[in-house]
Amino acid sequence: MLIHDLRLAVRSLRRNPVLSALMIGAIAVGIAASMISITLYHARAGHPIPWKDDKLFAVTLDTRDDEPPQSFERHPEYPPFQLTYQDARALYTSDIPQHSVMMFRSGQVLTPDNHGVKPFGVSTRVTTADFFTMFDVPFLYGSGWPRAQDDAPGAVVVLSRYMNEKIFGGANSVGRLVVLDGRSYRVVGVIASWMPRPKYYDLNGWEGWEIPEEVFIPFGWGRTLKMSPHGNTNCVRRSAKMDGPDSLYTQECVWLQYWVEVRNRAERDRYQAFVDNYTNEQRLHGRFPRKNNNRVVNVPTWLAMWDVVGEDSRMQLVLGFVFLAVCVLNTIGLMLAKFLAAAPISGLRRALGARRSDITRQHLIEVIVVGLAGGAVGMALTLGGLGGLKVLMFSGRLAHSHNPDRLVLIQSFFHMDIPVMLAAVGLSLLAGILAGLYPAYRIGHLAPATFLKTQ
């Protein structure tokens, strides 16, 4: 029966090749548009560390002056996304969380040992020791450093995989020396391939669509070497005065990222209470003029606060589906026209004893064939379109980049994974059926006699 219907469907499609091609084309274009937008959206809406949703929390305090929001602030209700040094230090004393980390991004110059290679700039994360355990950073060789090496900073460094390949040819470099800004550091660990997307632990710069830093050194170096933060430094109170290298450590300016890892929900609530207590107590000293607005948020909330998905992706998603809707409407019209034109054949089949359900089913099969064919063509269009978009959107950055990780990151924006592909197949079937349900029903319910007559 199914084979028979399939054969009828193919024959019927071949009877009107232009009309069939238009239907398949319309579905294909609609599928491609929506698939491209889903892929782009999906790549941005990913969750980098879902297994720690109830453990990992970003900490923000509302340090701001009591002043009306600036016109360019989209969400004046959010506290600043970073902490002052004074507050980070104070929170760091808490032993409620299992792990805590304060950190910032900076940059250094790395001078390789072998004189053939020119010195080059690297991105540096200056962080306390828990960073690696907290964010589940995988190690290829060695490990991070102990907390004891944070404050009186140990001359130790953790390298990214790419850095290790570039300067040590990928060998186990633990124990060897690296020269950063003219000072030697001993390698204690090399990170395996690791690319959280987005770079949720510090979303400054391209909303986190950046690669992790290339070298990691203990937090104490920041102050010792007067390293400047390469993220955002925001002086949140009018009283702040930036007038020397130590201002970062004394003034009301936020520039540090702060995260905690707790064991369970109760611990998180205890920590929130601890943070609120801290700001209440500070208020007595004239700080925190606003009402308490301290947010201890998990990764999904954090990503939403930063809006890492972005308006463009959301817009593209809506546009993609409107596009698909136009294409489906179009196909319904064409399908209806095509079925009605071939109604005499159905009339004849009815007259010869076919039931309504037979006719409807036969047409539904035809519709599904159109949907699947449209889906296949649409998939090809999607892959082509994604390739084109990659060049269009990133040719400049692709050309500049020396770090292969950055290429991997850009590739990942356009990557179609299994769920998205399954969605494509489902969507094309759905589009085909949506487009064909009404026409197939209409044709099944026509009185046979009318169509056995001439016009």
């Binding site: 800004d181 009018r238 020397g244 463009d312 546009l319 409407l329 064409l334 978009l389 269009l392 016009q455």
Partner: protein, 412 residues
């Protein structure tokens, strides 16, 4: 005109026309809003920078030894760059314009304004020598340039640079007008928030756009304050402007010689300014192209829908049309019939689509913080769809008009 039978016929077979009308409605909503968005993106990308992009290039150096003498190196570098034949002017800078790096402070004509929370005007800071405005090709419209002797030596860091404030600045016209709305900014003193300093506006440049930011951040891109100071090291930025046509040769020459000129530092990046500006706008252009292409395809698909439906309706009415011709209708009448029928369908879609477009427009303008969708976009969209609808239906309608009256006498 046979309006009544036309409407009756439409009503009897309403599914197809309704589908086309719905398609037209969605298409109108998409086209109007996307055209507006594309226009905004291209407008953001195309705003003039005030900089002589085609003849400027820049250099970033980094130190790689701890005993690197930045102050001496900057002096020698500037002397070298300014001595090259073909170079118009070279200056240091704290940030490279046309990238997204930016430092700003608040300023006000009255120091009391700065005590008031959120008082003051944002000014994006550039540290430059007396050749800075020439190195970018900015146009001085009032006052004077800095004197070479005014330019302060490099401080050890940004904070100290603020303490060692030289009380002279050159600002953009937009900044001047914002702080002194009466237009008398030249020679006036402005006060600076956060660092408790003041300075005198000695010169005004016509225009400079620092960053390719979206229009809602225009204040950071266009309100610019230039200080006569060499920025703190040890990494340095240089901006060099050459005579027309000599940039590329000079870039190659500088690239070859610059690294060896001073021990202890290396060239991290050397790039033409037009390239930098272009790369920074890549995102705008890419989104504009994506939206434009998608919108074009939506219109195309709609045209296919109109043509398909009209062709079907002609084919299924061949015999009636033949009969009408046989009893006296002229080709023109048949043509008119289809054009009017299509116009009615399109108009139905357009009415619904206008509502959709306005609703989507409200949503979009709040999403992108743009001004409301101007109504002429809607009017333009409606006119376009009327024309597109008529063109799409023309071929099937002409075919209908060409049906021979003899068809009436045949059976199928």
């Amino acid at each position: 005109m046979e309006i009544r039978p036309l409407l009756a016929a439409l009503w009897r077979n309403k599914t197809g026309p309704l589908l086309v009308a719905a398609q037209i409605a969605l298409t109108l909503a998409v086209v109007v809003n996307m055209a507006y968005l594309v226009h905004q993106k291209l407008a953001d990308a195309g705003k003039p920078t005030g900089i002589d992009l085609g003849n400027v290039f820049w250099i970033t150096t980094e130190a790689n030894t701890s005993d690197y003498n930045y102050a001496a190196a900057v002096k020698a570098d500037l002397a070298y760059l300014n001595s090259l034949p073909g170079v118009v002017a070279a200056s240091t800078a704290n940030n490279i314009p046309q990238t997204f790096s930016n430092s700003s402070l608040t300023f006000a004509a009255d120091p009391q304004t700065l005590l008031n929370p959120s008082g003051g005007t944002f000014g994006t800071l550039y540290f430059g020598t007396d050749r800075f405005i020439d190195a970018l090709g900015l146009k001085l419209v009032a006052g004077r340039n800095f004197a070479a002797t005014t330019v302060g030596p490099p401080a050890t860091d940004f904070g100290s640079a603020m303490s060692a404030w030289v009380p002279e600045v050159i600002v953009t016209q937009i900044f001047a007008d914002k702080v002194f709305p009466k237009g008398d900014a030249l020679g006036k003193t402005v006060y600076v928030g956060f660092i408790n300093k003041s300075c005198v506006i000695v010169g005004i440049v016509e225009q400079m756009r620092a960053n390719p930011l979206p229009s809602q951040y225009d204040q950071f891109a266009t309100q610019i304050v230039i200080l006569p100071a060499i920025p703190p090291g040890p990494g340095g930025h240089y901006i060099v402007r050459t005579q027309p046509g000599r940039r590329d040769a000079l870039m190659a020459e500088v690239d070859k010689n610059f690294a060896d000129l001073q021990p202890g530092r290396f060239v991290e990046r050397l790039e033409a300014m037009d390239r930098t500006a272009e790369d920074a706008r890549e995102g705008y252009r890419a989104s504009a192209i994506i939206l434009a292409v998608a919108t074009f395809f939506v219109v195309m698909v709609t045209i296919v829908g109109i043509v398909g439906l009209a062709a079907f309706s002609v084919a299924s009415r061949t015999k009636q049309l033949g009969t009408r011709r046989a009893i006296g209708a002229r080709k023109f009448h048949i043509l008119r019939y289809f054009l009017v029928e299509n116009w009615i369908i399109t108009t139905g879609g357009v009415v619904l689509g206008s509502l959709l477009a306005l609703a989507a427009g409200v949503e979009l303008s709040s999403m992108y913080q743009m001004s409301q969708l101007p109504l002429y976009y809607l009017v333009g969209g409606v006119l376009m769809l009327w024309v597109v609808g008529l063109i799409a239906v023309l071929i099937p309608a002409l075919r209908a008009a060409a049906i021979s009256p003899a068809v009436a006498t045949r059976t199928v």
